[in-house]
Amino acid sequence: MIIQVDPHSPVPPYEQVRSQVTALVGSGDLRPGERLPPVRRLAGDLGLATGTVARAYRELEAAGVVETRGRNGTVVSATGDVTEQRAQSETLAYLTALRRLGLGVDDAVRLVTSLGPQERPTA
């Protein structure tokens, strides 16, 4: 369960940390309830500013990947699979967009199932 930051990458360091922690949680290498390193220590280990790591942790918390428990630090969220959480979040956004067009859940299901095989995105 290693996080690696490349200082020469075009990807911002906070995004490298955020995406790698998300990947570790998604792969099961970081399990629900496991504690992440304290912000200051991870920043020191990676040679980053404390604010950079803090931003990554904030974004992870906003995405539901981790929870901050005050003095007990930041732990991996116990609220289920990260992929499932992202899917729910994207589904909500899709339904909200349809509602603005005056369409409902049944319309959403109809539109998805009406897509032909060639029109559906591949993995």
């Binding site: 996080i3 690696q4 200082p7 290498d29 496991e34 390193p37 220590r41 020191g44 280990d45 990676l46």
Partner: protein, 298 residues
């Protein structure tokens, strides 16, 4: 020349030779190979920095142990208070050497953790927090706590014996028993504070191999620290038990002494065997490093 001073002299001479040996390239290489074997780690691609760290750790430990010995020779009475039987002089001197060694290797670990992060190249860190359980096996951790509290149990037993009239105080020195009961837990608390300092220190690394070696050295430092309350508790238990045994009624004293000696030998042998069997130097490998990541020793 009294025993503690003789011990100090012999130790200083040996220590000088050991430290001088590690200042040679052959000595450093041998130290690195021995540590790799103990920790079951592959030799690092860039061996020089790790070899220097090992040399620094050994030097710090030796200097710390000799300093502890020197302090002990100055402050510990040669024959113990009131000609105590057995004399706590030599165990106390050895104990202070342990303290010196643990303080020095922990301090070295903290100093090394301040090294700068490489400006170029990748930076690597662990994605989860670590604790003492990642570096020291459960048997050693629990033993340190249990053995630190044993003298207190012995003191309570002595108190019960005094109340029931089996023992008389004096000649049993209640003050000594209280001291022996209090010192190991205080040492334990101090050790755990030092453990916390080492665990919260940085681990800058540019590769998983470098991080694995840092963990190996950290494991050594933490085990040095945790051995201090173990030793203190063991010695205090022996001294407290002896204090009771020699002051029992003449009919009971020989049997009690025999039980004490045999019991301690048995416990000591079991503890040592279990400790060695647990391969304590490799414990961190099972908790932090799957073998295919850190690379086993060929």
């Amino acid at each position: 020349m009294d025993r503690p001073t003789l011990l100090l002299l012999i130790t200083t001479v040996l220590a000088t030779f050991v430290v001088a040996w590690t200042w040679t390239a052959a000595g450093r290489a041998r130290l690195l190979r021995a540590t790799a074997r103990r920790a079951d780690l592959a030799l690092p691609a860039d061996a020089a920095p790790v070899a220097r760290r090992l040399q620094g750790r050994l030097t710090a430990g030796v200097v710390g142990a000799v300093s502890g010995l020197a302090l002990a020779v100055l402050v510990v009475p040669a024959d113990g208070p009131d000609g105590a039987v057995p004399s706590p002089a030599v165990p106390s001197v050895i104990g202070l050497a342990f303290v010196g060694l643990a303080l020095a290797t922990a301090a070295h670990s903290l100093v090394v953790s301040r090294r700068p992060v490489a400006a170029d190249g990748p930076r690597v860190a662990r994605g989860r927090d670590v604790g003492l359980a990642d570096y020291v096996n459960g048997f050693e951790r629990r033993s340190a706590v249990v053995v630190s509290l044993l003298p207190g149990v012995v003191a309570l037993v002595a108190g019960g014996a005094v109340v029931t009239g089996l023992l008389e105080a004096p000649p049993v020195r209640v003050g000594l028993l209280v001291l022996l009961a209090v010192v190991p837990p205080v040492v334990l608390v101090g050790s755990l504070g030092l453990v916390r300092a080492v665990l919260t220190a940085r681990q800058p690394a540019g590769s998983t191999e470098e991080l694995a070696w840092d963990d190996a050295l950290r494991s050594l430092a933490l085990r040095d620290v945790i051995s201090v309350p173990l030793y203190a508790g063991l010695v205090a238990t022996v001294l407290a038990g002896a204090e009771i045994a020699v002051n029992l009624p003449p009919a009971l004293a020989p049997a009690a002494t025999g039980v004490l000696v045999l019991g301690l030998l048995l416990v000591g042998t079991v503890v040592l065997a279990l400790s060695v069997a647990g391969r304590p130097a490799r414990h961190f490998r099972s908790t932090l490093w799957p073998y295919e990541q850190a690379g086993s020793r060929p």
